[in-house]
């Protein structure tokens, strides 16, 4: 093993490799509930070529490689379940190009969401990307790889739908370019009109290669943003409310939340509606369209717009939302995890009832947090429970609640988002056998030695 350490030092330099206890401890866990498992090595490459050399070495020695971005998925996706190498991508973090007119950016594999946001604000103030409500150290590539969602998801779909090209180091060491960038200097399309090969890597959770560059669509940044919050106490109305809201096509982003604390929020379901405009007139027009779309609920007294006082608006408008991090520590002791299955909007009532039912059953503090994906094509329903890390019994109760959520989500016809290894297994058990076989063939072809993030999407 000391040969491996020396070999890694030779690739990246001794400052960027460790097999010491401290690093192995840190890289052996994530902030969620999964059991830790330590890597043998932690390595921080700086270039695609270094990544290539590391992967080639690992493939030759049949040592696992787990690429890691911010490590914030909470579902154990970057815990090295079979040891080996954790490849921390944070040093590969350049923003390589912004094509302002074609509205795309090319970033390196470890570029952070916060870094990209700041860069665009400073250098391209008319452009923005779909920033997720994760801490700013989350990385752009990892977010796309897990099919993350962001502030523009209601308009443009999953953040992975916004990918315009990839550079990938395959598990066998080849460097592939995916999309228009494979034949051109432009990164405007990840596939069309050619075969779209990005699906070999997006959603695979790092099991089919290491993404070292990514093209990503950018969108117009409007000058003004504002927020309205529509409230109803009838969860059964939420799907209709979403249908009507998305029909207006006036909205930047829609989030739904329900929680029992503080008391002013209990018993109700809150639909946060974010609106943008380049002028007050544009903003007012959009607001009126939205109000009119929901007027019938106001007339029936089943729903209404909450008065969002000026001092409360920044809480709703900030990107990413800091309030999520505050909720994460509401029990003190820093424990927070959620299961966020992707389900139909019509499942909202059942999901919200299940959320509250499990909170009672397991004596937990909860929050339901939903992001609308596309024009109500589906939603991410986050079943969030907090816990005190010093309270092992409470942590166990959260695990049990989330396990029930996982089963429930599949029964509802949904899919797991950023699934744990167990949730992946649950999905594969239900998957069409030929589809599963196809996944196995793809994995076997790309990663014949099974070195990439092993135990994830492991078919058979």
């Amino acid at each position: 093993m000391s040969d491996m350490y020396e070999a890694l030092v030779k690739i990246v330099g001794k400052n960027y490799v460790s097999n010491q206890k401290e690093e192995r401890y840190f890289y052996g866990r994530d902030p969620g509930l999964m059991s830790p498992h330590e890597p043998d090595y932690v390595v921080m490459p700086r270039t695609t070529e270094e990544v290539q050399k590391i992967v080639k070495l690992a493939n030759k020695e049949k040592i696992p490689v787990v690429p890691k971005g911010g490590g914030l998925a909470l579902t154990g996706l970057v815990i090295p379940l079979k040891g080996g190498i954790v490849m921390d991508m944070k040093r590969i973090d350049k923003i390589l190009e912004v094509n302002e007119r074609a509205r795309y950016v090319i970033v390196e594999g470890g570029t952070t969401e916060g870094g990209l946001k700041s860069y665009l604000e400073k250098h391209h103030p008319s452009l923005r990307h779909s920033i997720p409500d994760a801490p700013p150290i989350a990385t752009v590539v990892a977010n796309a790889v897990i099919h993350g969602q962001g502030r523009l998801t209601q308009q443009y779909g999953f953040n992975s739908d916004m990918v315009t090209g990839l550079e990938v180091v395959l598990p066998t060491g080849e460097i592939c370019r995916i999309g228009s960038c494979s034949i051109s200097k432009y990164w405007f399309s990840r596939g069309a009109p050619m075969p779209d090969l990005s699906g070999l890597f997006l959603g695979w959770l790092g099991t089919t290669g290491v993404i070292t560059k990514m093209g990503l669509k950018l969108y117009p940044r409007k000058k003004i943003r504002d927020v309205e919050v529509f409230v109803t106490d009838k969860e059964d109305l939420v799907p209709d409310i979403l249908f009507k809201l998305t029909h207006t096509e006036m909205v930047e982003d829609i989030n739904i939340w329900c929680q029992p604390h503080p008391p002013m929020f209990r018993e109700n379901h809150h639909v946060t509606i974010l609106i943008t405009g380049d002028s007050e007139e544009e903003l007012q027009f959009k607001k009126k369209m939205i109000w009119d779309a929901l007027q019938e609920y106001i007339d029936s007294k089943d729903g209404g717009f909450m008065w969002v006082m000026p001092d409360a608006k920044p809480t709703f408008l900030e990107m990413p939302l800091e309030s999520l991090s505050k909720f994460a520590d509401v029990r003190k002791g820093g424990g927070f995890e959620y299961s966020g299955p992707i389900v139909l909007a019509e499942d909202y009532p059942e999901c919200s009832r299940k959320l509250a039912e499990l909170a009672v059953k397991y004596k937990l503090t909860y929050s339901g947090m939903v992001r609308v994906i596309g024009r109500s094509h589906c939603i991410m329903f986050g079943f969030a429970y907090t816990f005190n890390r010093a309270d092992l019994d409470e942590m166990d109760r959260v695990r049990k609640a989330l396990h029930e959520v996982a089963e429930f989500a599949l029964e509802q016809g949904g899919t797991h988002w950023k699934p744990t290894v167990d949730e992946q297994k649950m999905m594969m058990e239900r998957m069409d056998p030929d589809t599963l076989k196809l996944m196995g063939k793809i994995k076997g072809l790309l990663d014949p030695n099974g070195i990439m993030n092993p135990r994830n999407w492991e078919v058979g």
């Binding site: 409230v231 109803t232 106490d233 503080p262 008391p263 002013m264 929020f265 209990r266 018993e267 109700n268 007050e280 607001k287 009126k288 109000w291 007027q295 609920y297 106001i298 007294k301 089943d302 729903g303 209404g304 717009f305 909450m306 008065w307 006082m309 000026p310 001092d311």
Partner: protein, 343 residues
């Protein structure tokens, strides 16, 4: 259960029926008003109950102090009506439920009440509050609850207000200086109307400010500005405090512009109307109000209620009017910095 002290005979003999005829949101002549008001009294169906925007103005229009608005609210609740959407009503009721999280200064026999509005604590700074300041109360336990009139929920008021007065009394307070106009209205209009005893003296902060300004007369530099005054809904409950506005303006060298929507004809801030009736009427009310202020040539709009300030400050600033709370205006006159700013 507490009951509204309402005298039907006063209405029977009333010829003007000002409560409804003067209403800014209903169009009834005297005869129609008389008929509809009798229906309200007899607890019969009346369009009045639906049309009410809960602006409180009829409380002031009634020359007999017979509490027409409180009666309308009683009748709305008896019918299970929701003025605002039900979830919004729940939200407001839950928001101000006492939960043992109140805050206290070094409470003495005389104390400032910041109600349940932290912004009032920010306002009450500087020389005008130096002597009174260490003694203050803030929290849902001291919240006046008048707001539930907007939501047709006198039951909440009847349930909570007696406990609120008890909570204040338990602090050993003999004189409460109400920085929230609505608190003063609660103790001096609503409580007596329902036979709720208020075992302490209440002083409106206008009176307190007026007296403090007189104490600091030498520090006053006349502001020499033209201002409009945004009269709020709860001012309708205690119109006897209104003269202090002009008294204060006189002391600090401020001219109150003449305009259409002032005094009895004042327009409310519109945000409650937004919740109760929707955006169209709310936008119309706010536009008329701000247009009126602009056309009257005011430089500042002076606020009594912090919620009116929140509702209108930004909109006024965009039209070139400087919004300012009356406490901040007084501080400005003695060379101190305002606490509330737009944006």
């Amino acid at each position: 259960m507490l009951a509204l002290e309402f005298d039907e005979t006063k209405c029977a003999n009333c010829k003007a029926v000002s409560c409804l005829v003067k209403c800014q949101y209903m169009d009834l002549d005297k005869d129609e008003a008389k008929i509809e008001w009798q229906k309200v009294i007899k607890s019969e169906d009346s369009p009045v109950l639906d049309a009410c925007t809960t602006c409180y103005a009829c409380e002031e229009y009634c020359p007999f102090g017979n509490h027409p608005f409180y009666l309308i609210v009683e009748r709305q609740e008896e019918r299970g009506m929701f003025t605002a959407p039900r979830p919004i009503t729940k939200q407001w009721i839950n928001m101000c439920e006492p939960a043992g999280k109140f805050r206290l200064g070094k409470v003495k026999e005389q104390a400032l009440s910041f109600c349940f509005i932290p912004a009032l604590r920010s306002l009450a700074r500087g020389r005008l509050f130096e002597s009174a300041l260490p003694s203050w109360i803030l929290g849902a336990e001291f919240f006046c609850n008048v707001v539930y009139l907007h939501f047709a929920k006198t039951s909440v008021i009847k349930d909570r207000l007696p406990k609120i007065t008890e909570n204040i009394e338990k602090q050993g307070i003999k004189e409460l200086i109400c920085l929230h106009d609505e608190c003063y209205g609660s103790f001096n209009s609503l409580a007596p109307a329902y036979g709720i005893k208020v075992p302490f003296k209440t002083t409106h902060y206008f009176e307190y400010l007026y007296n403090k300004l007189k104490e600091h007369k030498d520090a006053i530099k006349p502001l020499n500005v033209e201002v409009a005054y945004q009269r709020n809904c709860s001012a309708r409950l205690v119109p006897e405090t209104d003269h202090f506005v002009d008294d204060i303006f006189g002391l600090i060298g401020v001219d109150r512009v003449e305009r259409e929507y002032d005094g009895e004809n004042a327009l409310c801030c519109g945000e409650i109307i937004r919740m109760v009736k929707g955006y169209k009427l709310a936008d119309d009310v706010q536009k008329r109000n701000i247009d009126d202020i602009v056309n009257a040539g005011a430089e500042y709009c002076v606020f009594n209620c912090p919620f009116c300030y929140m509702a209108l400050a930004e909109k006024m600033a965009k039209r070139g009017i400087k919004p300012i709370h009356i406490i901040d205006l007084c501080k400005l006159a003695i060379g101190e910095k305002p606490a509330l700013e737009v944006g």
